[in-house]
Amino acid sequence: MEGSSSEEGEDVNWTFYRDREEWADLKPVPQDDGPHPVVAIAYSEKFRDVFDYFRGVLKVHELSERALDLTRDAVELNPGNYTVWQYRRQILKHLDKDLKEEMAFVAEMISAFPKNYQVWHHRQVLVSWLNDASDELQLTAKMLALDAKNYHAWQHRQWAIRTFNLFQNELEFIEKLLNDDIRNNSAWNQRYFVINQTTEFAPEVIEKEIAYVLSKIKIATKNESSWNYLRGIVLHSESGLRKPSVIDFCDELYNSGNRSACLLSYLVDAALEQAEYGVVKENSLLSIDKALELCDNLANEFDVCRRGYWNYISGCLRVHMN
């Protein structure tokens, strides 16, 4: 189990709250599981003690320094306890605490539990309160260096960028990640996010992005991330998937003998689009007959796992034959 720090026998120097003089005035509240507990966890003595006192504090709604310290012990034992985090924020507000210290604490917690919802949310609330996101790009870059696809880190980064207008160097950052791993789908998604939020999809942006992604597809023609990005971009152009420069690229790739399932699938969808919306540029690669042949190739050779799907798409194509 990730995040367990309650090994029995650990913490020789630990003093139970029940043995602390400064806590003698507070009545601990045991957990009320009722007469017939189910999914009963064999808590360590330390865990039980800390949470008995946390419940005690919660009951009398004590918003104090010692309660703040107690919540720290509690979230370290279980960082997933959203009640403790929420209560901790109440105390921080009430005591008007210096949040810099709290920022350091939550950064530590993020490093220790990078896939935990609560630690990242806590960070976001603190940054909002401080109205200062100057450390967020660095923090998320550090976490993404450890796991380039950490969903929480990307969420936090996007939130900070959007809220505090930190778009300036983001494309460079993404470029670096894509150079490290061209298959990093999170980085591709971030690229789309940045374009969408900054230049949007003006014709010259579309051209630039298409050129960029085609150069990446050339490097790895079976990389679904870049193909998906291409689809995302061309949908903003008037000719959609049938954009002539893209079809020419596909044509060339296909004629060179490439049979990437992503390529064939793109051509099938472009043909379907052509059948539905009419012709942009007459191209035999986009005829229904050719698309049916490609579906067949996909179903029987290049994407056998998805045979049922390709048969369905064949059916959709056939509707347009009459």
């Binding site: 009722g34 808590y43 969420q155 999170s186 490097i219 990389n223 998805r306 369905y312």
Partner: protein, 414 residues
């Protein structure tokens, strides 16, 4: 129709003929993604040959180890070791994962145990409405969803009566944002899980109103990404868990027509791994057993939407899932069963209750095709699990009974 061939080819049949064909092709560009993928594929390949040996002696292989899984579930229902402390704020979830898994395995929980689970969940209910992760914790939409689903799965009047519907409704209103999204708890994060959990419990317990979900569908639609899937909130990456929540919520809001269904279909079928047979959560990530439900479970909803809008009846004539149901069953049965009971994410991982619940839920989806043709169940016919309703992930009969019970109660409580 040419696509009426009954079953599609299972990946193992492919593997059998030519394993190499389905391996990741790095195209001379090794990256972290491809290296991780190849590691998993090699492990799968090794285990596949082990399985072939087993299958030579046992014609019914692969077999679902019902008794082992049940033993694990029964034991977990009463006792969890101290390292479960990190799930202390997810005990309502533990109740759902266990009771739902038992239900799928057709295990009849004794009346006394049902009563104990219901009583415990009552202790998790908050004075301000909704349920917390455990007794004394703040109300949170995720454990609220889990508790309501568990109580409906128990299916007793005692269980239904635990839910304080008036307070639940107040709780839902307290989390609603003006743009139609929901925060998970007061002061908590906002993502598409929130609106799904909210509309799911509202529909189940018959406290739904249009006003409570005003703008929600539009907000969900803003989470559909250029890839076709949905992200947790606008701008982020398409992800199986969030895509399920988004689609199921749209269906529950009767606004499924707002989404781009063809691109969602394409994204979803492409999340199935060509060699492993299981699903990944995002493009270029690794296979994971829990997406057996989050991704495959979306397919009945997607196909339902496509048949409804189908003028040409291409979809209406299809009576099987558009993902590879045999390959998914093989992934779960051959690679995701822990030898001592319980199911796992992928080979090399340890079992847990979350993955046990969602691999079994996905297995149930894969087995229970629209029309039950012979050969739709991989391995022994005794592998067949009870069917689930994909939108709620509650067993069908249990859902029917709960819906009937709550439909007789008034819906305008405020």
């Amino acid at each position: 129709m040419e696509n009426q061939q009954g079953d599609s080819v299972g990946c193992s049949e492919v593997i059998n003929s030519d394993f190499q064909l389905e391996f990741m092709d790095e195209e001379g560009v090794p990256t972290n993604t491809s290296c991780e993928q190849i590691k998993v594929e090699s492990l799968i390949e090794k285990l596949f040959y082990v399985f072939l040996k087993k299958a030579e002696i046992d014609p019914e292989a692969p077999v679902l180890h019902r008794d082992l899984h049940l033993a694990y579930l029964k034991h977990s229902l009463c006792y969890l070791p101290h390292n479960f402390a990190c799930l202390d704020a997810s005990r309502a979830w533990l109740c759902y994962w266990i009771t739902h898994s038992m239900e799928l395995l057709d295990f009849k929980l004794p009346a006394e145990d049902k009563s104990h689970v219901a009583q415990f969940l009552a202790k998790c209910q908050c004075p301000d409405g909704g349920f917390g992760g455990g007794p004394g914790q703040y109300g949170h939409l995720a454990p609220t969803y889990a508790a309501v689903n568990a109580l409906c799965t128990l299916g007793t009047e005692e269980a239904y009566k635990v839910i304080d519907r008036r307070k639940l409704l107040q709780f839902l209103w307290s989390l609603r944002k003006s743009n139609g999204s929901f925060e998970l708890h007061v002061g908590g994060e906002i993502d598409v899980r929130g609106v799904y959990c909210a509309v799911s419990v509202a529909r189940l317990t018959n406290i739904y109103s249009d006003a409570l979900f005003d703008n929600s569908a539009e907000w969900i639609i803003s989470c559909q990404t250029y890839e076709g899937g949905f992200s947790g909130s606008p701008g982020h990456e398409a992800h199986g868990g969030y895509a399920f929540c988004a689609l199921a919520a749209l269906c529950l809001l009767s606004k499924e027509n707002l989404c781009d269904i063809k691109s969602l279909l394409r994204w979803t079928v492409n999340r199935q791994m060509r060699l492993e047979g299981g699903f990944q959560g995002r493009t270029n990530k690794l296979v994971d057993g829990c997406y057996s439900f989050w991704q495959a479970g979306a397919m009945p909803m997607i196909q339902g939407i496509l048949s409804k809008n189908d003028e040409s009846s291409v979809m209406t004539e299809i009576d099987s899932w558009l993902f590879n149901s045999r390959a998914l069953q093989e992934y779960i049965l051959i690679y995701c069963q822990s030898p001592n009971g319980g199911l796992i994410d992928k080979p090399g991982k340890t079992k847990d209750l979350y993955h046990t619940c969602y691999t079994l839920s996905g297995l149930s989806i894969a087995q229970n095709q629209p029309s039950k043709t012979t050969g739709s169940i991989v391995g022994s016919p005794r592998n067949l699990l009870k069917a689930v309703h994909p939108t709620f992930n509650i067993e069908l009969e249990k859902l029917k009974s709960a819906s009937l019970y709550f439909s007789q109660l008034p819906s305008d409580l405020l």
